[in-house]
Symmetry: C2
Amino acid sequence: MQRTLSSLDYAVDEEVISTISRALAHPVRVRILKLLAGETCCFTGELTGMIPMAQSTISQHLKVLLDAGLIQGRIDPPKVKYCIDRERWRLAEELFMGFFGPESGAACDGD
Amino acid sequence: MQRTLSSLDYAVDEEVISTISRALAHPVRVRILKLLAGETCCFTGELTGMIPMAQSTISQHLKVLLDAGLIQGRIDPPKVKYCIDRERWRLAEELFMGFFGPESGAACDGD
DNA sequence: TTTGTTCATCGGCAATATACGATGAATCAG
DNA sequence: CTGATTCATCGTATATTGCCGATGAACAAA
């Protein structure tokens, strides 16, 4: 979590993949995204009622997702609506596909 | 990183996605995976020569990838060869596809 | 046995992540 | 203005991550 290696400049996609992955690195955030991406669509802080965690904790997780660009928040006083950022979502799909997709590389057994 | 919420039991895919994501959460690990998955295939500790980090640090990153099941290591004294775990790789692709893939959910503007 | 190579693990330090309760900010109803 | 609602942020405690140098373990060659 330091990344002080200035001599190692990562490729853009390496940075973006790791950034998005860091946002997905906690199961509760995966769940939140599933809820938002699912049929229910644009959600609000009712998440507080669906997830047994303190409101402040959920708010923090939402902030992490927000910072990663995966969701958007729109103010609808006194509530806030969160929804998937579709553009970022598509980018994520594209990047992860390009990453996991190609079945390149030979098997390890040979040699 | 505590996850003491016993009342919140995550779905298997939520756990697996977050586990794999945690492994991808550092750009240097993404790079290592790219190197291993790329044309070069089964690599060894020559990574030490390709990444400007201490040998112990790289070894730690390899362990993280190993624990996440994304790579395998085979001993070939006095070296160790690492390669992608193709099975896990396919599972990852499948899970991330199912996660990012569906363009479900209406736009946020309505309502 | 001794030496050299390769890699993992240990100890230590600083930074981040995660959780909570409490408090602050914004808004609307009365 | 007062109070209620909703959500973000602060402060704090603890666990984890990430980095390094140093050391340990395994093995082959001399």
